[in-house]
């Protein structure tokens, strides 16, 4: 039997069930429109302002660093896959280890630079700094 | 072993170095850089003497020298340039002799300039000596050139220097315009020369003068039916006709530089320059360059009888034509100017009629006696406080005897009086024209007749000049109390006077024929050298290709030689005698009125300037106007149209750069899709 029939059936079922459930419930439920129902859920608080507020830049900085360094680890995967078998096939430890050490070393230089240039510091926002100085005075 | 040939580049470089020194350091040096120039040309002279001795075989066996010094374009493997453009040296009897002449005259002119320029308190001396140095250097570079392109480049340099020197007194009115005229007229000839150089390259793929792969050798092989495939003729002409065209193109430059009819008009005007410069220009450098070029590539000209005939005819005509104009001139340098034109006409006549040796001979003797005459005239001009009018002179004989006797020697040579050098060389020129004319080329006889007639006029105007200047009674106060001249004027005059007397003895053809003695030294000199560059080879060529053979009058060759010599001597003496009877009187008067209306014609130089000005002004202007209309209307219209279309489309094209990056992305995608469609359809990806 063609495997695609099974996949197709699965898809049909997967799409059909939620649509069916929503259809049934809309048929059964009573319709009582009320403002509180359509309001944004904020744990019972009354929402104020828009959702589009400015976040501190540091959120993004850390996120960026995370993205970059996280993805770099992807490149270590192939190395880990062959590490053991390479050693078993008689490649010297140095030859197997050196490339990865160099790779990590380069990342470390980058991280060091980012650190020294204040990318990982939780720098105070101007507002926070101002508040702090006001308190001291 | 280090020989003379290793120092040949120095012959050229020394004057060039003096040019640099005079230009940049001249104002800090005593005499305005003159000493640098004198030292440099003296060094060049010594080296040239050494070179000549080497060529003659005195110092070893090597007697010729050909060396490529620098390949400045082409010649790399796998490059698209099919030709090698090189600088190289070619030292053979002809060029070494010319080196000697040029360096000698240049040296003497430098010395003379001390008297003519320094002692007269001229300003701008560094500029003057810089010009002289560069002038000498370019001429020497031209002489040693081993290919036509290099020759052309130095030829142009010579022209440029003449422009600078003739216009030396640029604050006056006449010299700059004379300089401009000299430059433009010779440039006019040089355009043809340039086209000729290109044609030579296109035809032969080389412009070398000497060797198996040289263009005269290739041309000869092509005409002889061997290796004709190496030669590309243009416009579908057969080799003979095409070579004639090429030869005539190069001849354009020669006619301009050597002041042959009809491009001679610049030369008399060039007298506006300082007199030593005139000496240098007329005796050894610029004007000689044209004739030298023909001699240099004579192996090529000898192959084309038409060109030879034209050369001979132009030469003969110029000789007569210029001589008649010299008859009526009032200014001493003007007379000399026309005599120069006339004498170069003789050389061209000789070259055209197969007298390679005769031409070279006359080139040499003329260099000496014409330099002498100009320097002598310079001496007179110093004495006369820069008044050049002969009618204001007279009686200078007693007051400046050195100048007088040297000038007289030069005049005798110029007039061709036995046994001065001019007699021998002019006689040989006429002899060659005569025998070859008799031998089956009657055209040459006409050229010969004109040359012969010119001898009479030469004798006349030469002695008219001598008598008016030196004899009789002083006609002005200045002539009565002339300004003295010093050793630096007299020295060069003496040296040149000796040469003007004796230079002819190296090639006394009639005497040799008469006595059977082996005294034709110049014949022997030019008969050796690189194969293909010898006088013997040339006479074979003229014989084979131009059918020049020797015909005789009564008495065989000897008789012909004697008759020819006697006739020309007789005519010269007749001319001189006429001058004597008219002008060697205490109070000479102008006899020009007796010429009637011919006088006006002669005074006005046959209206040559007028017709050329008319040509330049009216005809050329008319043509130019038409061309201008065409240019403005059609060519410019097209060009402007194209450029405005370009700019317009440019301003349209740049509009696609909208500045909005989304549009860029869209256009980029569109472009990619368009390429995809084109390539896909073409490559059948969609089927």
């Amino acid at each position: 039997m063609n495997p695609w029939i099974a996949i197709g059936a699965l898809a049909v079922v997967g799409i059909g069930i939620p649509i069916g459930m929503m259809a049934v419930s809309s048929l059964l439920r009573p319709s009582v429109p009320e403002q509180g129902k359509s309001a944004t859920y904020e744990s019972g608080e009354i929402p104020t302002g828009t959702a589009r507020i400015q976040f501190n830049i540091q959120y993004y900085m850390v996120a960026l660093l995370f993205v970059v360094f996280d993805i770099e680890t992807v490149l270590i995967f192939p190395w880990t896959v062959i590490y053991r078998s390479a050693l078993e096939q008689g490649v010297s430890l140095g030859a197997v280890l050196t490339p990865m050490l160099v790779f990590v070393g380069i990342l470390v230089v980058g991280l060091l630079w980012a650190w020294r240039n204040g990318a990982v510091e939780w720098v105070k926002s101007p507002r926070a700094t101002r508040r702090k100085t006001e308190r001291q005075s | 072993m280090v020989g003379a040939f290793d120092f040949v580049p120095a012959i050229v470089l020394l004057p060039f170095f003096s040019f640099l020194v005079a230009l940049f350091l001249g104002k800090y040096m005593p005499k305005g850089g003159a000493l640098a120039g004198i030292t440099a040309t003296a060094g060049s002279l010594l080296l040239s003497i050494w070179t000549v001795l080497t060529v003659a075989g005195f110092t070893g066996t090597a007697t010729t020298y050909q060396q490529t010094l620098y390949t400045w374009a082409g010649g790399m493997e796998g490059t698209p340039l099919p030709y090698e453009l090189t600088f190289g040296l070619l030292i053979d009897p002809l060029s070494s002799m010319m080196l000697l002449i040029v360096t000698l005259v240049a040296f003497l002119v430098h010395v003379f300039s001390l008297g003519y320029m320094n002692d007269e308190g001229e300003t701008g001396l560094p500029r003057y000596y810089a010009g002289l140095g560069l002038f000498s250097a370019s001429m020497l570079g031209f002489v040693v050139a081993d290919n036509l392109l290099m020759a052309f480049m130095f030829f142009e340099l010579v022209g440029l220097c003449s422009y600078l020197l003739i216009g030396f007194w640029f604050r006056e009115e006449a010299p700059p315009s004379a300089a401009k005229k000299a430059f433009l007229v010779t440039r006019f000839g040089d355009y043809f020369f340039l086209i000729g150089v290109v044609a030579v390259f296109a035809t032969f793929g080389t412009a070398a003068f000497a060797g198996d792969g040289s263009f005269p050798a290739l041309a000869e092989a092509a005409l002889a039916g061997e290796g004709g495939g190496d030669v590309n003729t243009l416009f579908g002409l057969d080799p003979q006709a095409w070579f004639t065209v090429v030869g005539l193109l190069v001849l354009g430059g020669v006619v301009g530089k050597s002041a042959q009819f009809p491009l001679h008009t610049w030369l008399p005007d060039a007298m506006e320059g300082p007199t030593p410069v005139s000496a240098l220009i007329h005796a050894a450098t610029m004007v000689a360059a044209g004739v030298y070029l023909v001699a240099r590539m004579y192996g090529f000209y000898a192959l084309t009888p038409t060109t030879l005939a034209i050369i001979a005819f132009v030469g003969g005509f110029t000789a007569l034509f210029a001589a008649t104009m010299g008859v009526v001139k009032r200014e001493i340098k003007q007379v000399l100017a026309y005599s120069t034109i006339s004498q170069y006409g003789y050389m061209m006549l000789a070259l055209g009629s197969g007298g390679y040796i005769a031409a070279t001979f006359h080139l040499m003797t003329h260099a000496f006696f014409k330099a002498l005459l100009f320097l002598g005239a310079g001496s007179v001009i110093i004495a006369m406080h820069h008044n050049e009018n002969m009618w204001d002179m007279g009686g200078l004989k007693d007051r400046m005897p050195t100048t007088y006797y040297t000038f007289l020697a030069g005049s005798l040579a110029l007039a061709g009086i036995f046994p001065f050098s001019g007699f021998w060389s002019k006689d040989e020129v006429l002899y060659e024209a005569l025998v070859h004319g008799l031998g089956g080329s009657p055209l040459l006889l006409a050229a010969w007749a004109m040359g012969l007639l010119a001898v009479f006029f030469t004798g006349f105007y030469t002695f008219r000049m001598v008598f008016l200047t030196f004899h009789g009674k002083p006609r002005t106060d200045t002539a009565r109390n002339p300004h003295g001249v010093r050793w630096n004027v007299k020295g060069p005059l003496a040296v040149l006077a000796v040469l003007a007397v004796v230079a002819g003895f190296i090639n006394m053809v009639p005497v040799a024929k008469l006595t059977g003695l082996e005294i034709e030294f110049l014949h022997d000199w030019l008969a050796h050298g690189p194969s293909g560059l010898t006088s013997e080879h040339y006479s074979e060529l003229t014989h084979d290709y131009a059918n020049y053979s020797v015909g005789t009058l009564v008495g065989g060759e000897l008789g012909t030689a004697l008759i020819s010599g006697a006739v020309s001597l007789g005519l010269a003496l007749a001319g001189a005698g006429l001058a004597y009877s008219l002008y060697n009187v205490p109070e000479p008067v102008e006899h020009t009125d007796r010429l009637g209306s011919a006088k006006d014609v002669l005074f006005n130089n046959y209206y040559q300037d007028e017709y050329q000005v008319w040509l330049a002004n009216d005809v050329a202007r008319g043509i130019s106007r038409g061309a201008d209309k065409f240019d403005q209307g059609v060519v410019d219209g097209v060009v402007n149209g194209i450029s405005s279309v370009s700019l317009l489309s440019g301003s349209r094209v740049r509009r696609i750069q909208t500045g909005v990056v989304s549009n860029y992305a869209a256009l980029l995608t569109l472009g990619l899709v368009a390429l995809l469609v084109i390539l896909g359809l073409q490559g059948g990806w969609f089927v």
């Binding site: 993004y60 993805i71 770099e72 992807v74 490149l75 995967f77 | 909208t658 909005v660 989304s662 995608t669």
Partner: protein, 100 residues
């Protein structure tokens, strides 16, 4: 086994969705996301044909592509931040002072 054309079609579809996003969106971040989509379309091809041809070259390259994509995003975000600071918005059509 799924025939390879299907992967190609899937990849092409995702590529075109990404391209569509680039051509229609003016928000720089959405532009970036669209580019990521296109890169992932390439990844699908690479992984799929790595299996098809039976070598791991494609898979390895897909890892590199992901890393490059991340680096590109990092730099892109940085540039978009300076864009926001200078132009006050992340609309790519705002920055159009240089043209022609």
């Amino acid at each position: 086994m799924v025939p390879p054309q299907y992967y190609l079609l899937l990849a092409a579809a995702i590529f075109c969705i990404g391209l569509f996003g680039i051509l229609t969106r003016r928000n720089a971040l959405l532009f970036l996301m669209s580019v990521e989509l296109m890169l992932n379309a390439a990844n699908i091809n690479l992984v799929a044909f790595s299996v098809y041809w039976g070598n791991v070259t494609g898979q390895t390259l897909s890892l590199f592509t992901m890393a490059l994509a991340a680096a590109e995003v990092a730099i892109g975000i940085g540039i978009i931040l300076t864009l926001y600071r200078n132009f006050g918005d992340v609309d790519v059509t705002d920055a159009a002072s240089m043209r022609w």
